[in-house]
């Protein structure tokens, strides 16, 4: 075991896949000479050279389109977005072209591309830099969507994403880049579409993903110590494919559900989850399914207000206590 930061775990995944497969390339703004806006790609240019680690102009539609075209011909590009908030510049490339290519070509053409970068609020970067588009992305059949919470998950999931033959949207988090976690020395993969129960419990299931999974774990500790409530925390890790079986197994155990997401509630991931849970496990529910989301407004610039707009341990705790009331 070694201890790595979240950004280092992603870098290791990239380096290992660049080494393993000569078709893997990394492209994006400042990924090469500047070592990445958040230093994820630090040192990769020196190790793999300018043909594999490519700086691009500020033109997401252009370089994502380039990556998609290259992927159709067998290259496995890993595109870095400085913020996922800028994906909409390339909306047509990603969600109309890449997402539909395998279906439209009758299975003859694949787009093995990974688009990765941070998608989160909480750092006071304002409404146009704080989008969390996993719900929008996941509503398009043909793409896969991954939101890792820990260094271990980030590395194992990114390696699987690079080896996957479909477009994979990989949503990171700037607040987590410095988080440390243990990583096995040996090569490992985490399959896409497999949830991880990060804490076992009996009274309440918290279904969550991304940074809110960590916040939920912290709230679950308080629930246990101060309120005698045993909460199970199920980290989805992948939004699509969705491991609904793991969620339902937990619901059948605890009978009460709180969904926690760094997502605005309207048409969010939690809405889909709540529908699926009640559809499949109606008779297992002992209380209405509850949801804690980002407060429904553009990302608020004021740091103290934004902290309350996003899920935080206090908000999660209050929501959880309502569900078990």
């Amino acid at each position: 075991m070694t201890t790595l930061q979240y950004r280092e775990a992603i870098r290791e995944a990239l380096a290992e896949e660049l080494t393993r497969d000569p078709n893997v390339v990394v492209m994006g703004e400042e990924v090469a000479q500047f070592h990445g806006a958040y230093k994820v790609t630090e040192g990769l240019l020196d190790r793999f050279g300018p043909k594999r680690i490519v700086d691009t102009p500020i033109s997401e539609a252009g370089f994502i389109g380039l990556g998609i075209g290259a992927s159709m011909l067998g290259i496995r590009p890993v595109i870095e977005l400085m913020f996922w908030s800028f994906y909409s510049v390339a909306f047509d490339q990603i969600l109309n072209n890449a997402a539909n290519m395998r279906y439209m070509s009758g299975g003859q053409i694949h787009c093995p591309i990974v688009i990765r970068g941070p998608a989160n609020g909480g750092t006071s970067v304002g409404a146009t830099h704080s989008l969390t588009p996993e719900n929008v992305l996941a509503s398009h059949p043909g793409v896969k969507v991954v939101v890792p919470a820990t260094p271990y998950d980030a590395k194992g999931l990114l390696k699987s994403a690079i080896r996957d033959n479909d477009p994979v949207m990989f949503l990171e988090n700037t607040i987590l880049y410095g988080d440390k976690g243990e990583i096995p020395e040996d090569d490992y993969l985490i399959p896409l579409g497999k949830a991880d129960t990060k804490r076992a419990g009996t009274d309440l299931t918290i279904v969550t993903y991304g940074r809110p999974a960590l916040l939920s774990l912290s709230a679950a500790g308080v629930l246990e110590q101060e309120h005698g409530v045993s909460a199970e925390v199920v980290d989805l890790r992948s939004i699509r494919p969705l491991d609904i079986d793991a969620v339902l197994a937990s619901v059948r155990k605890t009978h009460r559900v709180l969904i926690v997401e760094e997502q605005r509630p309207f048409c969010g991931v939690g809405a889909q989850l709540a529908y699926m849970i009640q559809r499949e496990a109606f008779d297992e529910l002992d209380a209405p399914i509850s949801r804690l989301s980002t407060v429904d407004a553009p990302a608020i610039y004021s740091p103290p207000v934004e902290a309350e707009q996003l899920p935080n341990p206090q908000r999660i705790l209050r929501a959880a206590l309502e569900v078990v009331a």
Binding site: E284, D286, A325
Partner: protein, 432 residues
């Protein structure tokens, strides 16, 4: 084209009515003026009159339903005419202006409209669970079925009384259940054993009874009164002997005329006269002004099976004790039959509550807003009293006045009871 009959607004505080009973059935011929159904409002049970001639084509709500104002009840048209039930969503209960701040319909008709009561509680606060719909989680429902427990016998501990899993498990583990399943063990103590021989069984069934309209109105108005009105109480004991003597004289002498005065008739008449002497009690608090009423409309509490109501003797200050007696008797009878019209139980300016006939010595009553006071009347008691230096047997009666201190001060309350005492102790004054 059939005429759709909707739930009418039968009292000014009504939002829903209970269709108690259909008096006509589908297919019956109906004439204008025929009574179609009995409807219980928050105040009384009233008959629903037809304003159409024709045939009762369809009945949309069964007897016993609670129906919001404006919802379709039935259709009247030509015999054989087709009529379809109106879409239930057309007038959902939510559309009922439930928040109408219960107007306090007490000002005499001749007076200008009272200022709106700003502090009136919105009725929407009262949230009785819809009758017949049980709140139970899906899991609890499934568990109860598995364990063969009737959910209706389980008390819910979840939000809004929802039955949740732990309630079902608790019911399953209750001693009664355990005994039935042969659980327990050990030597049974004779004191812990089941029902003693000769036990008459449970006091009553465990059950949840939905609050009736009339009960909900009583609850709302009394909470409003006791929480908003600063009540204070003054009490006096009077010598009832002269009044009882006069009553007996009149009832004996005028028996052929059908006169049968009750003690309460004397109290009602005396109250009206006392209000004339101390008119400051015949007032209402209206937040920025105190309304003075020119007439004494004296109401009296009548117990009904499921609550009480206060019919009003209008202009009691102008009526003889004999007129008051006849009117009180008629109103009391109609009140017990729930046949009072709204005008007969609204608009009082003072209220009398008498538990004397039930043997109560004395009690304090809650003011019926917007009255400024209510008189609580006890029974007449034979007891030793000092007359001069002698202890003799006297007939005594306790009167307690509850007053709204915003309107009536202690001295005024005392003057009023003093006037009442004089009138009842010199009852000939009540015949003037």
């Amino acid at each position: 084209m059939a005429n759709i009959i909707e739930m009418p607004k039968l009292s000014d505080t009504m939002t829903v009515g209970t269709l108690v009973k259909w008096l006509k059935k589908e297919g019956d011929a109906v004439k204008t003026g025929d009574m179609l159904a009995e409807v219980e409002t928050d105040k009384a049970t009233m008959e629903l009159e037809s304003f159409f001639d024709g045939t009762l084509l369809a009945v949309f709500v069964p007897a016993g339903s609670q129906v919001p104002i404006g919802a379709a009840l039935c259709a009247i048209g030509k015999s054989g005419e087709k009529v379809s039930a109106p879409a239930p969503a057309a007038k959902p209960p939510a559309a009922v202006p439930a928040a109408a701040p219960a107007p306090l319909p007490q000002a005499p008709a001749s007076a200008p409209a009272p200022a709106p009561a700003p502090a009136a509680l919105p009725e929407a606060k009262a949230e009785p669970a819809p009758a017949g719909r049980m709140r139970i989680s899906p899991l609890a429902r499934k568990l109860a079925a598995e364990k063969g427990i009737d959910p209706a016998r389980i008390r819910g501990s979840g939000p809004g009384g929802r039955i949740v899993r732990s309630d079902v498990l608790g019911a399953a583990a209750s001693p009664a259940q355990a005994r039935a399943q042969g659980g327990g063990g050990g030597v049974p103590s004779p004191f812990a054993a089941g029902p003693v021989p000769g036990s008459k069984g449970a006091i009553q069934d465990d059950k949840l009874v939905p609050v009736s309209n009339i009960r909900a109105t009583i609850a709302r108005r009394l909470v409003e009164s006791k929480s908003q009105i600063p009540h204070f109480y003054v009490e006096i004991e009077i010598d009832a002997e002269p009044m009882l003597a006069l009553r007996e004289q009149l009832n004996t002498a005028l028996e052929k005329e059908g006169v049968k005065l009750s003690v309460n008739d004397f109290v009602l008449k005396a109250s009206a006269e006392a209000l004339r002497r101390v008119p400051a009690v015949n007032c209402s608090w209206e937040n920025t002004a105190i309304r003075h009423h020119s007439a004494a409309h004296v109401s009296f509490a009548v117990a009904m099976e499921d609550g009480l109501i206060t019919p009003v003797i209008r202009d009691a200050h102008l009526k003889s004790i004999f007129a008051i007696s006849l009117e009180a008797k008629a109103l009391g009878k109609r009140a017990r039959e729930r046949k009072l019209a709204p005008a007969e139980f609204t608009g009082g300016t003072f209220c009398v509550s008498n538990l004397g006939m039930m043997g109560i010595d004395r009690f304090s009553a809650i003011i019926n807003p917007p009255n400024a006071a209510i008189l609580a009347v006890g029974t007449t008691v034979r007891k030793p009293v000092a007359r001069g230096d002698q202890v003799v047997v006297g007939q005594r009666m306790a009167l307690s006045l509850s007053s709204d201190h915003r309107v009536v001060d202690g001295a005024i309350g005392a003057s009023f009871l003093g006037a009442l005492k004089e009138l009842l102790e010199k009852p000939a004054l009540l015949l003037l």
